[in-house]
Symmetry: D2
Subunit: 148 residues, 4 copies
């Protein structure tokens, strides 16, 4: 399976810790940033506010990762984004975080995000259907994968 | 001059960087957290939302610091908060960040915050007078300082 | 089962994001900080450097969490630490992150850490047995749980 | 005066706070990252470890900023890097942080960094002369500025 999206970045100094490596919690930000970049590539944003003050977001209800090898300051990083499954309002993402040098797999991760809306003046968030553009992009990618 | 407030904390691992010390940008968070703790000690919050959706905050318009000595993982830290001057809507703060062990001064800082409000449904922030409770606490402290 | 350790903290402003809640990656720092505080309560540190330049740490090889409810600025937070299992060099931790107000469970998490050493001048980390003090503290807690 | 270097980035979601804008301490990371990118453009790194275990870094002894306008999630950001003055071992940097849309100046900053070395096995850092490559790049840029 090929990634539905790929995102590159460089390890910043402030992302490292006293052990000389990227702090594990930072890896979750790498995955989140890649997911957001995928949205932008579709002309979408994960965080939008309507003119009427309504708000749509994609909060995470689950995140997990296995850490296989360390990343260090100024390493070039590639984050591969996969969509494991789509529900009515939720997406199950899978990620691979690689050090570009040596094509070294450093972390594997998974998150579940839920498309959520808050009406104007309201406090409660409720789940809403995924944007059509996201569902169709994932379907197109799956179809291209299936071709011989 | 004695501090108007003191705030203690412990250096967390994720606050350190590859040089084995607390990252300099984190020191600004230490100062901000101490300022916020001072507000709480007065029964105030730096970030409040009214029932009508209005919002009051204290954004920083200036921040500076001199870094004198490093802090490391698990160091106990004391942040001393001073008020240099009060305007109608702004506060000029001064901070000293010390390592408790050896009473070592590690950083001196200064910030300027402005009391700001956004009306319901509005986008623009405008400066508003400081809360009375803050002004009176600072005046009380100054008076106690002046006593022989 | 009762927690082997409990750790309290307050949500800092810089830990929140544009959605008005604590950013999910920050929750992993809350769990890590609680684990480190447990180590300190035993007179241990997760990150020690020997006089000979050797280094012992507890890197994470796995981390996961389910996010159930949001935390906001100035919420008081309780992190409950559990030990699911101890290997020769690894610990499987379980965490509950609660908002103190209303005793609301906001996140459940799990991490696996491995006790690791790097010899003087060496680059490679190798796993080493857990500190006795940790194993005995966990055994004592389990025994106290088993008592009628 | 033109910038000696320019660095572009996009505001990540995790860099924003509950006020809906990039947290002020994050702006200092933007400036630091731009400085590091300038070093890389010269074939240098701000953080290097010798084969003999010696270490050279550029810790900050001063940082300040004025915050003029907010940055928000997914804003494109341009950081302009200027060198105000070069000492034997220190650099005084100046920065402008702009929102690309509207070419809006959002922050002005200044930092002072000191080239520092720690010998193998030593604990103390001492200041050492700046790398020739840095001094010559700054001189070349100044000369090109001076040309009519």
């Amino acid at each position: 399976m090929t990634a539905v999206f790929e995102h590159r970045r460089l390890v910043a100094f402030s992302e490292t810790d006293s052990a000389g490596i990227v702090h594990f919690a930072q890896l979750f930000r790498y995955m989140e940033d890649a997911e957001h970049a995928f949205f932008r590539s579709l002309g979408l944003s994960v965080h939008t506010t309507g003119d009427d003050g309504s708000f749509r977001g994609f909060p995470r209800v689950h995140a997990s990762a296995d850490f296989l090898a360390p990343l260090r300051f100024e390493d070039e990083v590639l984050v591969r984004v996969f969509v494991s499954s789509l529900g009515r309002s939720s997406v199950r993402w899978r990620f691979e975080v690689l050090r570009c040098e040596g094509d070294l797999l450093c972390a594997r991760g998974e998150t579940v995000t839920v498309c959520t809306e808050r009406a104007t003046g309201g406090a409660a968030m409720k789940s809403v259907p995924l944007p059509d553009r996201l569902a169709s992009a994932v379907a197109e990618h799956a179809a291209s994968e299936a071709r011989p």
